[in-house]
Amino acid sequence: MNLDLLERLNEARAAKRATCLVRFLATEEQVLIVDGAVVAGITPSTDVLDAAAEALRRDRSGMAETSHGSAFLQVFNPPLRLAIVGAVHIAQALAPMAALAGYAVTIVDPRRAFASEARFPGVEIVCEWPDEALEALEPDRRTAVVTLTHDPKIDDPALDVALRGEAFYIAALGSRRTHAGRLGRLRELGHDEAALARIHGPAGLDIGAVSPAEIAISVLAEMTKVLRQGAV
């Protein structure tokens, strides 16, 4: 590896870009792919770019057979983030669980009584309106956004901003009927059916969850499924 390529790799990692270093072990050739574009090394065939994209999606480094021969794909993904909208009881369970699973968690709630340090020790809390908070957060392809308040005043602006970004998982808590009403309001804000289909609602896998902790498990499980296996 030459120093120039190594420094470009480090720059891409520092900028939190989706980065893949491909080493062709037989020829010693290398290529650095950042956000799907070749930034250093050889010019590879499209199957190499496809393999890199797949490795990034699975978030797993490993060997692959390519048209250039056997290659090692090393994946450097930006950190996972989770924005929880609503500093409610379920959030108290979801925040530590998601942190254990590797997410940098931010709790958003404009209601100061809910968004208190005492209720969420050690968690980053943003006590602002969700549209402003989420615009500042800039959800990317490694970000999940979950709304938990059931309150259209708080949940809707958060979903509105999330749908304009690239978040890999967007979910909203609430019954099927609440969700139908929510979709109607978001439709009026200009979101088409393809956008609305990105929202997982009601949030979480159907595992019969009852308690706040169980609901947090079902949401984290669904988030993990979408992260690892893609949206279904």
Partner: protein
């Protein structure tokens, strides 16, 4: 950020300081090997090493290859494990197998 995340920054910093630097990377594992693909061990020509490619079982052998690579030898793909003759000397006690790619920063 885990310690692993800073290794490649350190590799570039060492190289800029004028050290010779080798990067050893786990590229493939089978069975119960201690470090996943992508794990990195950094070696310089002044006797320093950082990071790991195993639980400490094969680092010695990898450093030896790293020294050869820093001295100008081409990159090398090493394999360690129970099926390997070297297992008797520097094998993995866990019974897994691991492939490590060793290259110099030029």
């Amino acid at each position: 950020m885990s310690l692993d995340d800073t290794l490649l920054d350190t590799a570039a910093a060492w190289k800029r300081e004028g050290r010779k630097v080798a990067i050893a990377t786990v590229v493939e594992t089978w069975g119960s090997s201690p470090r996943p693909a992508g794990s990195v061990l950094l070696v310089d020509d002044r006797g320093h090493m950082l990071g790991s490619v195993s639980g400490g079982c094969i680092e010695g052998a990898v450093v030896k290859e790293a020294q050869a690579v820093m001295a100008g030898a081409p990159p090398k793909l090493l394999e360690f494990g129970v099926s390997n003759e070297q297992a008797w000397e520097v094998g993995l006690a866990c019974g897994g197998r691991v492939r490590v790619y060793v290259e110099a920063v030029r």
